[in-house]
Symmetry: C2
Subunit: 345 residues, 2 copies
């Protein structure tokens, strides 16, 4: 899922999102709650109609902002008090309110409110946040059943399992969360300070405890290599800002690894970003021109690198789906890892 924090995948039009191969996108409850406000989104007919996007939308719950905006947050059992990053206004987000807002937004998949924590954390803190995430998950699901979207369309609800970096706690919380009867399950609070080895061990034990026949969603990840490794562990769904945010910083993803378009080596290069890519950037423009546009601060550079990167991510996911169906996933993964070079985030 490309990320459309404020109700727009930064730089892309709905047509371009579609053409990139995107099947579903993510929007952020916390940000939309503050601006333009969920009441306005409902009044405008919901996110789909407001954004002009007729594909599925998943909304997060605001739980991740407990971690990312931790300086502006106070946790209580009833919910979380935020001071708005926009104007300092006080907001109180309960599990119930998180579901009401997501119903206003009219997303196809809502997420339960969870309590994400930064690592390292002690055992008591990890247990406390994980148990709270489970209690909030129950409260979220109960309220979700009573909410209606602007169009009356049914909204699915995924529950989030936490557990910090303790494999036993992760396994336990995944198993208990799986009993909530949600429409899908997510692993929250990963890739927030632990080693990559730990991320995959925690993903593995969590996935083993989650139902195989329901979606498993690894939140907030990752690099192309991360996606391959996570799919190998049974993950179905991701969201990540890398393809869009890094595009604006001049990074283009390619099968050979990331490319920094600012580098002087591209200054006179007439080739496209990736000769094998069929996105509008690669069909129309040279690296030399895209580098010029990026250095000149032209919006078209951000647009084209974003379109290319989202296309790259969606093509990677599509190729993995096809490889799985053909029983050739391991072969694909080895080939991809063998070609892809460099630190990619």
């Amino acid at each position: 899922m490309p990320v459309g924090t404020a109700g727009s995948v930064k730089g892309l039009s709905p047509d371009e999102i579609r053409v990139s191969g995107t099947q579903i996108l993510l929007a952020n409850t916390y940000h939309l709650m503050l601006r333009p406000g969920s009441d306005l989104v409902r009044e405008l007919g919901g996110l789909h109609r407001m954004m002009g996007w007729d594909g599925p939308i998943l909304t997060d719950s605001g739980g991740y902002q407990i971690l990312s905006l931790r300086e502006r947050v106070r946790i209580e059992e009833d919910g979380v008090a935020f001071r708005s990053h926009l104007d300092g206004a006080r907001e109180f987000l309960t599990p119930e309110r998180a579901m009401e807002i997501q119903a206003d937004l009219g997303s196809d998949i809502a997420m339960t409110l969870d309590h994400a924590v930064l690592l390292p954390i002690d055992a008591a803190g990890a247990r406390d946040a994980a148990e709270r995430s489970l209690r909030w998950g129950e409260r979220s699901l109960r309220r979700a059943r009573a909410c209606a979207t602007p169009t009356g369309a049914r909204q699915l609800c995924f529950a989030i399992a936490q557990g910090a970096d303790d494999p036993a706690l992760r396994a336990e919380m995944a198993a208990r969360t799986a009993k909530l009867g949600a429409d899908g399950y997510a692993l929250g609070g990963l890739s927030v300070g632990e080693s990559k080895e730990a991320t995959w061990e925690l993903t593995r034990v969590s996935n083993e405890a989650l139902p195989e026949d329901q979606p498993r969603y690894l939140m907030g990840m990752g690099t192309p290599l991360d996606l391959v490794d996570a799919v190998a562990l049974g993950v179905d769904l991701f969201d990540c800002v890398l393809p869009t945010r890094n595009a604006r910083n001049g990074m283009a993803f390619t099968p050979d690894g990331p490319m920094n378009i600012r580098n002087a080596v591209h200054a006179r290069d007439p080739r496209p970003l990736d000769p094998a890519c069929a996105c509008a950037a690669c069909l129309q423009f040279s690296r030399a021109y895209l580098r010029h546009l990026h250095i000149a601060g032209e919006m078209l550079a951000h647009r084209m690198l974003t379109l290319h990167n989202v296309t790259f991510y969606q093509t990677l996911m599509k190729t993995m789906r096809e490889a799985i169906e053909a029983g050739a996933f391991e072969r694909f993964a080895d080939a991809f890892r063998g070609r892809y070079r460099g630190a990619d985030a």
Copy 2:
């Protein structure tokens, strides 16, 4: 002509420029000379190929930057010395060099180097710059005949008449410039401090001295009302940053006048910018959403307002062409002026 200073109409893709109704766009010699460099543009096959734009392109000569960058400029008879606004590097632009660069860029229409001046200016200064513009025009045209574009395509050359705010000098310079045998003629150095009444008087006397059967180009203007007034005086061609620059500041042009999308009155308005407009912004998005995107600093706001504004300008020009052909220009102009309200720049 929408303005693509650095080789990109800010915010728009080549497809969108085309769909907006644009027949020809402008790019800036001075800016492209500094970055990415005209040698690189030639190496990449010229501006059309570099930008992915197969319609006509007009390049200015750098003469306007004598005025807009006057703190960084020293005029000599041979040419103009610039200190680059990017890195302070010294550049010397002669009439000959201006044409060589434009040949490298491979534009369809090149402009002669002129000496534009800010108003007010005394009679001697006005005469001096106007005579120099004529001499530089002759030198430009002579060199242009010896230059080749990257593709070998023929390049037309328009000459620029100056004359500050003295109608007699303007009439004289237009008549003398018309004898240069250029492919078209431009009025330079207007709307640079004089009253609107003076602009139109100077345009009128200049146009009377220029051939009716060749294009007359009013450089650097203007608002929608300006375009109507100038067409009434026989102007054929314009370039202006208003539709693109003002879009990025939140201004949308409509038949009722300019609209500031930031205004609170639009916050909950489900209507498009202009219900009669068929641009992608008006077909897909509400004022409320575009206002939200603009306030949130989302690129899509800049893109959509730019697309709308360029479409508005091109539709206005197309409607005027059709009205002229139907012998109904005055009726159209009266109706347009009667409906359009407000200061529009």
